[in-house]
């Protein structure tokens, strides 16, 4: 037993050396979370110009006309269509021809005149959640300035804009992205890097030497996994720091729970990486398979960029097998809502089941000895 433990130790030390020695890769991996958070953050916060507005005005009067001309005159907005009923702009909206709909209620000017709240509805296309919230914020500002102007000439007016988001009704803010980015970075460091490092051994022939040695398959896998797990934890911490320092993204829940969940998610990614390396025959193939099989789903089918609710039904079912989908729910829950295990146990359970299944599959695939 004593000798086995030291065999594993020798193997882990070797893996650490590989990682430490490849300075370029290490630097990239360590800086990646910060760069990603900052880049995505700024890209998403970027000012939005040329918001295409569809207007629904059932009974045009002086007030709706005035407000419409405010929008028309604002360089940020462009009116792309006007209709009497909401059905008129529906198709425009659906085709993606409009980003924002401005829907007046009938008798808008009359309400302004008699002091009752004048209602209007703003519908934002939130398929990109961040631009969605920014657009409605700008539109609300335009409306508020018109309201203030009327108020200044001595009339008591109240315009009550109601906001509605299409495709992503629960959207809050740019903060939603940070948990998703953490998932993406973890996928990269775990699945992609293990797949590459293991398939490199396969390609160079060193894996054969390991398989002929008394090392057991689980020791080889564990030895590959431990160093990347440490790197993954470091990445979570730097991503959180970058998000907090640069964008003041809140952190409401338990850091311990987030780290534990990240380790769980990383282990899932690592087993995926081992599996990918086991079924591919070259480093290049392993890299492609890891990108297509893990990075793409983690980006596109995880709710990171496209809200899952906006995906077609069959694709929504596919997302159930994407680990990032569950991790993002956990990370958002902990960071933004501050919830604990009581609310997240289902997601944690799903990830645990995935881990067990993948790990068993990985260790099995890794027994080419008795093929």
């Amino acid at each position: 037993m004593e000798s086995r433990r030291s065999a594993l130790r020798a193997f882990v030390v070797k893996e650490m050396r590989h990682i430490m020695r490849d300075r370029q890769t290490l630097t990239i991996l360590l800086l990646l979370p910060m760069v990603m958070v900052v880049l995505f953050g700024f890209a998403l916060r970027d000012d939005i110009n040329q918001v295409r507005v569809a207007v629904v005005d059932p009974a045009p009067d002086y007030a709706t006309t005035a407000l419409r001309s405010r929008f028309a005159g604002n360089p940020r907005f462009e009116i792309v269509g006007t209709a009497r009923t909401i059905d008129g702009v529906e198709s425009l909206f659906r085709r993606g021809g409009a980003d924002l709909a401005l829907v007046f209620s009938p008798g808008f000017a009359r309400s302004l005149g008699d002091g009752t709240p004048a209602r209007l509805l703003l519908i934002g296309d939130a398929s990109n959640p961040n631009t969605g919230s920014a657009m409605t914020a700008y539109a609300t500002a335009v409306i508020a300035s018109y309201e203030a102007e009327l108020g200044a000439v001595g009339r008591r007016v109240r315009i009550v804009p109601e906001l509605r988001m299409r495709f992503n009704p629960t959207l809050e803010s740019v903060n939603l992205f940070v948990p998703g980015l953490i998932a993406l970075v973890l996928t990269l460091v775990t699945a992609l890097m293990t797949a590459i490092s293991l398939s490199r051994e396969k390609e160079r022939g060193t894996l054969e030497i390991l398989l002929v040695s008394p090392l057991r398959p689980w020791q080889i896998i564990l030895g590959k996994v431990v160093p990347y797990l440490l790197l993954a934890v470091a990445n979570v911490v730097t991503a959180l720091l970058a998000a907090w320092i640069v964008f003041h993204v809140p952190f409401r829940g338990s850091l311990t729970l987030l780290l534990v969940s990240s380790i769980l998610y990383s282990l899932v990614g690592l087993s995926l990486g081992v599996l990918v390396a086991a079924v591919t025959s070259s480093q290049r193939a392993a890299m492609l398979a890891a990108v297509v099989g893990t990075m793409l789903p983690s980006t596109l089918l995880s709710g990171l960029i496209f809200p899952i609710a906006s995906l077609p039904g069959w694709l929504r079912i596919v997302t159930f097998v994407v680990p990032a989908r569950w991790f993002i729910v956990i990370a958002r829950g902990i960071m933004l809502e501050g919830v604990g295990v009581r609310y997240l146990w289902r997601e944690l359970a799903v990830l645990t089941v995935m881990l067990v299944v993948l790990l068993v599959a990985a260790v099995r695939r890794f027994k080419p000895r008795l093929a």
Binding site: S6, R9, R17
Partner: protein
């Protein structure tokens, strides 16, 4: 003298193709056994079964007294292996490679240090001990790989084309190393493409189409086929096989 490798009717089939067809042979302890054959004759498949990378379809084989099918774990602990592909880690130093292999085979730190030091001295690598293996010339790498495969003092060492691509002087030195370990009692099981190297072996076998077509000391084999060199024997055995392949193809 005891038997280090005992093979009886060992067979491996892949679907309908029989890669290794009921081969039998024994190798004694301390013997240098040359395992020859053309490419695709089944050498690699046979070795893979002996080192526990592949399960036999039928037949028995034992290495260092352990059954390869049922005691693979024990087999692995008592053998050394050096493949035709370079088997050290390029990005680790000489020292680190030694420490790694010693560790994997469960040697204590003291033993690793002692054996590592003498290994480095013997190979005259004192000045390069902290250099990355990538910077060593190929011949040195191969010699180092062999020494590392011997670090845990295995009963049997398998060398799969260890001298591929190295210059004649290094090959010569390599064979001197092989003799040294054989004299210490280690059994050496070696495959090679160089038939002049086969002459250095105590005994050889020549595989053709999954079967052993000739076996014995190099002199016996040459006598049996009335040939002056092993080259002639090899061509005599391999040609008819290739001719029949050409016909069937």
């Amino acid at each position: 003298m005891t038997t280090a490798i005992a093979v009886k009717d060992l067979t491996r089939r892949f679907g309908s193709f029989t890669a290794v067809d009921s081969i039998s042979f024994d190798v004694q302890s301390g013997e240098v056994f040359g395992f020859l054959g053309a490419n695709g004759a089944g050498k690699t498949t046979a070795i893979k079964m002996l080192i526990g990378l592949l399960a036999p379809t039928s037949g028995d084989a034992s290495v260092a007294g352990f059954d390869v099918a049922t005691q693979a774990e024990d087999v692995r602990r008592h053998i050394g292996y050096m493949s035709q592909r370079f088997s050290l880690y390029d990005d680790l130093t000489v020292r680190e490679n030694i420490t790694l292999y010693g560790g994997i085979y469960g040697l204590s730190d003291d033993v690793i240090r002692d054996r590592g030091d003498s290994l480095i001295r013997e190979l005259q690598l004192d000045d390069s001990r902290d250099e990355r293996v990538a910077s060593l010339p190929l011949g040195w790498k191969q010699k180092l790989a062999f020494s590392v495969a011997m670090l845990h003092e295995p009963a049997v060492v398998f060398l799969d084309e260890p001298t591929g691509g190295v210059d004649p002087i290094t090959r010569r030195q390599f064979w001197e190393m092989i003799y040294t370990v054989a004299e210490r009692g280690t059994t050496v099981f070696v495959t090679t493409h160089y038939l002049d190297e086969a002459e250095y072996c105590d005994r050889i076998s020549i595989m053709v189409d999954g079967r052993i077509a000739a076996m014995g000391t190099p002199t016996e084999v040459k006598q049996k086929f009335g040939a002056a060199t092993l080259d002639e024997v090899f061509l005599h055995l391999v040609r008819p096989a290739e001719a029949s392949h050409a016909q069937s193809a």
